[in-house]
């Protein structure tokens, strides 16, 4: 009788371990799914898939940014903005503009698009001349060079960045800088 109870207890512990093991396996699988890209099993629609992919990319960028210095992160944000302008990805660039800045200079995305198409070079290289922090904002002095132009120093502008969180930022830039260059060129 005593032997039987001992045996049943052993079976019970075994089943318990097995159950815990299965739960853990499921938990690990779910955890991994969060970081996998393009997992068609759990994603039902293309929109969801896209959202998930974007979120995964964002997580991966955040992971990279967390290892960068403050200066490198701010330069990364500025370069992402410039890249979007080069690629004429206006909506992406417009999205990161500070709201007050938008109200002051570009009430609509359309007006921003017109400005960029008129004044901003399509192929650029940028050099960071200076970066300074003023409390929660960073002021960058950037040389924007039109690599298709023979003029080596195209124009210098300010980019003001505020980092709210990793890969979450808003910015503005000196609107007159590119315009002044454009005026000089058209006068010539």
């Amino acid at each position: 009788m005593k032997k039987n109870i001992k045996f049943l207890l052993l079976i019970f512990i075994f089943i318990l371990i097995l159950l815990v093991f299965i739960i853990m396996l499921f938990s690990l699988k779910n955890n991994n799914d969060k970081y996998k890209t393009g997992d068609a099993v759990t994603v039902k629609t293309t929109v969801e898939m896209e959202k998930k992919a974007n979120s995964d990319i964002n997580d991966s960028i955040k992971q990279t940014l967390s290892g960068l210095s403050e200066q490198k992160r701010i330069e990364y944000y500025a370069s992402q903005f410039i890249k979007a302008l080069e690629a004429r990805n206006i909506s992406k660039a417009y999205r990161v503009l500070n709201d007050d800045f938008k109200n002051n200079y570009f009430n609509t995305q359309k007006s921003f698009e017109e400005y960029i198409k008129k004044y901003f070079p399509k192929e650029t290289s940028i050099d960071y001349e200076n970066i300074e922090r003023l409390g929660e904002i960073y002021v960058l002095v950037v040389d924007v060079k039109d690599i298709l132009s023979s003029d080596p120093n195209n124009f210098q502008c300010y980019i003001v960045v505020k980092e709210n969180d990793l890969n979450d930022y808003e910015l503005s830039f000196s609107v007159d800088s590119a315009m002044e260059k454009y005026s000089e060129e058209t006068e010539d």
Binding site: N98, F101, Y158, V160
Partner: protein, 304 residues
């Protein structure tokens, strides 16, 4: 019955043989899961690392501003700048210490003129503890236009650096002064000879310079020249031990016979540079007659 005993025996053998392995695998697996979960949580909670530490003084030691003072300073600056931006200068004026009001601004009109220049346009601010010295919590407050809203369009990158000082008064209450004003101290230092009486009454200390209120009395029938910039930059000095600083105010100091008036020479000296002013020196006092011929020449050192 026989079958049941067989199964039981097999299971017992299985556990005897693999029981330890199962437990070891289970423990290792659990550790991996816990570590994985913990690492995941750490990643989720990552925030941007910045070098911005507004309450750690950038000058001097590793001291940080006590939490109580931090809170008071942050609240004060926020409210003070709001009033200045709203043009409610009288409310801003009421927030500063009596010592600062009386000895730096003199009258409310002086303050209003001062603050209107600084807040000609709406200003944002950035706060940074600058120095902690002799019980004074010195903060650097950078005032600037809303660069994020303008992108510095049609403008240049510049800001005003204002020193705001927090300290405890005699009632253990935190008081604030603006414009770099530290304090005012009465000084009792008198020297005289047959020509001149010099009476140093007050020392007013600012973060970047110090001023002395000095009463000069010509006791003679001759003209007395104390500063006329003939002896370049060395006619009125302060002695800091191993170095001296000359008067920033280069106006002529010339006393007619029996004339008496107050002068306020000003000397460049950082409040927290660790040096003490030992004396004010008039190094080249010249007594001249009506033809400007030098009758006598001497110096006076007003030691503290």
């Amino acid at each position: 019955m026989r079958l049941k005993a067989d199964i039981e025996l097999k299971i017992r053998r299985f556990f005897r043989k693999y029981g330890k392995t199962i437990i070891i695998v289970f423990v290792i697996f659990s550790i991996i899961l816990v570590v994985n979960k913990f690492a995941g949580e750490l990643n989720k909670n990552k925030t941007p690392k910045t070098t911005y530490k507004p309450n750690v003084p950038i000058m001097g030691d590793t001291d940080t501003v006590p939490k109580k003072v931090q809170k008071s300073v942050e609240d004060f600056i926020d409210e003070y700048i709001s009033y200045c931006n709203l043009g409610e200068y009288n409310k801003a004026y009421e927030m500063i210490s009596d010592d600062c009001k009386e000895n730096y601004f003199g009258t409310y009109t002086d303050y209003e003129n001062y603050i209107k220049k600084r807040f000609a346009t709406h200003k944002e601010y950035a706060l940074q503890s600058y120095s902690l010295y002799n019980g004074k919590y010195i903060y650097s407050v950078k005032l600037f236009d809303d660069f994020l809203a303008t992108g510095i369009t049609n403008s240049t990158y510049r800001y005003i650096d204002e020193k705001i000082i927090a300290s405890y008064d005699e009632n253990k209450k935190i008081v604030f002064s603006v414009g770099g004003f530290i304090d005012k101290n009465e000084v009792q230092c008198v020297q005289e000879n047959k020509y001149l009486k010099v009476d140093v009454n007050e020392k007013i200390t600012f973060y970047e310079f110090e001023e002395y209120k000095i009463k000069l009395t010509n006791r003679s029938d001759y003209k007395i020249i104390i500063q006329n910039n003939e002896v370049e930059n060395t006619e009125v000095l302060i002695d800091l031990g191993n170095e001296s600083r000359s008067n920033l105010n280069t106006d002529e100091i010339i006393l007619d016979p029996h004339e008496s008036y107050d002068i306020i020479p000003s000397f460049s000296k950082s409040f927290d540079n660790g040096k003490t002013t030992q004396s004010v020196i008039f190094s080249s006092i010249r007594v001249v007659d009506e033809n400007n011929e030098e009758i006598d020449k001497f110096s006076m050192t007003m030691g503290f």
